[in-house]
Amino acid sequence: MLIQQIVNGLTLGAVYTLIALSYSLVMGILGVLNLAIAELFMLGGYFGFAVVLAQLPLPLALIAGMAGSALVAAIIERIGYQPFRTAPVVTPMLSTLGFSIILQNIATNIWGSDPLQLTEEVFAERFNIGPVSISAIQLTVLGVTVVLVALLAFLVQRTSIGRALRAVAENRDVARLLGVSAGSITLIAFMLSGSLAGAAGVLIGLHYAAITPYIGVEIGLKAIAVMVVGGTTRIWGALIAGPLMGVVEVMTVAYGGSQIRDFVVYGFMILILLLRPQGLLGGSHRNQDQRV
């Protein structure tokens, strides 16, 4: 029973990890909280569903979700971030909030406010390993997350784009002096972030076999807490915080009742903010401006 809960928690945690990485890519590099990520996650789910409902293969659903959300993220960067680059951090946050209102409205109008459900469960078979039962879709969620995180790590740590991203995070002006095109790097950061949120949306949609326009507020917003717990200054903190918070939430539901879970998750975030503002994995110094 306990191991079963841990497996379920890790599945939810994998989705949290992806969304938290999505938040912290933009937060870590630009210092901006993109509130529209919650809705990019929701849109990704719908894009993926559209592909699955068209009887096309699953990998295509993932690609559609990632590409679709990345494109929307690009629009958000051009209209919702660039004009406010020099404004106080609260202003771009509010403009992304404007986008989140728009995107939720669009989703409600296109797909309706009732949950969209898959008639037949994708990957319905389950594997039993001792006392633990794990479904194929859970394995898919975990596997895809591991692959995506590895790809992201490679991109950030080993490629020239990644080096430019880290340079802009360190110091935008110096990076520009050294020939980094900061404008296109911010665009890339937003699109990468969008594609991760989109992938998370596809995965959660397939896992629950249902999606609503409000899933962004229900799950996407909570990933902010996951990002904070991992540490906003180090994007890799999400790798620890995602699984941790997923397990904590599932355990809370299993042993404390489903209604207390938001209380626990957000309470954990506030504790971390107050006691260890740099997050579980953050560096030793507490400078809130320090990034990546």
Partner: protein, 273 residues
């Protein structure tokens, strides 16, 4: 006055109070995304006092405002450690925690909500809204507000000239929380039914939007913003299902064109009044 317009007016009045609660805290440079939490505390406490303890509305509202103000101060102290976006995220968490708490608080109905309150008229709501608005505007002419503005502009400099930034920031949190509680108490007694979902993240966002649209540097901005936020969607009805999208676009447009909101000090000073 028809029921329809009375309903809209009541919504505006409650939103004015909610927006003012955000405005007061924002004046010290702190953005709160969790004022719906304080509103919820006020709504539940006022309702308990009038229904279960059989107190009249006015003292109930004042008690709720006081209690919520104390909670605001208690929340405000740890919040001193956080700035900007970190404070926004922490207050967001606080608001969601309060909602989650009432969802589990079976003594007040839990997820089923709570009812039995006496209906309160639109007039009463507006008396409170105008009272608080005037109070804030009077405060704005006082030395306290100069101190508040000094803390917002540069906390270190304000400290160097001998201002107690801690007292001012925490005090603003408490005051804002008290005003949000009044908004909640009036909301509960106008709708005569409350449930935890009434005090969600979207409600906190509405308060912030009203302040940003109306003008975040002057108190009447909260009034203008609240009117825009409630009345405009009614006028946008011809857009039918797309009015919220239009609203989001309007918000972004406003931030591009006029970041400080519709009203600002320069505008108020140049007007004949």
């Amino acid at each position: 006055m028809s029921m329809y317009y009375a309903g809209i007016l009541a919504d505006v009045g409650i939103l004015v109070l909610g927006a003012l609660s955000v405005y007061i805290i924002l004046s010290t440079g702190q953005l709160s995304l969790g004022n719906a939490g304080f509103m919820g505390i006020g709504a539940y406490l006022t309702s308990w006092l009038t229904v279960k303890a059989a107190l009249p509305l006015t003292p109930s509202l004042l008690i709720a405002a006081l209690v919520s103000g104390v909670i605001g101060v208690v929340v405000g102290f740890p919040a001193l450690r956080l700035k900007g976006i970190y404070l926004a995220m922490a207050t967001l968490g606080f608001g969601e925690m309060v909602r989650s708490f009432f969802l589990n608080f079976s003594a007040m109905g839990g997820p089923e909500g709570f009812h039995g309150m006496q209906h309160v008229s639109t007039g009463t709501i507006w008396i409170w809204a105008i009272l608080v608005l005037v109070l804030v505007m009077v405060l704005e002419t006082s030395q306290i507000w100069l101190e508040i503005r000094a803390v917002r502009d540069d906390e270190t400099a304000a400290g160097l000239v001998g201002l107690n930034a801690t007292r001012i920031k925490v005090g603003a949190f408490g005051f804002g929380a008290a005003v949000a509680a009044i908004a909640g108490g009036l909301f509960a007694h106008h709708h005569v039914y409350i449930e935890p979902g009434n005090f969600s993240f979207e409600r906190s966002i509405d308060f912030v939007l009203a302040v940003i649209l109306g003008g975040s540097t002057v108190a009447p901005g909260a009034l203008v913003g609240a009117v825009i936020l409630v009345v405009l969607p009614e006028y946008l009805r011809f857009l039918a299902d797309w009015r919220f999208a239009a609203f989001g676009a309007l918000l972004i447009g406003m931030l591009v064109v006029r970041r400080q909101g519709l009203l600002d000090r320069a505008l108020l000073r140049s007007s004949p009044a």
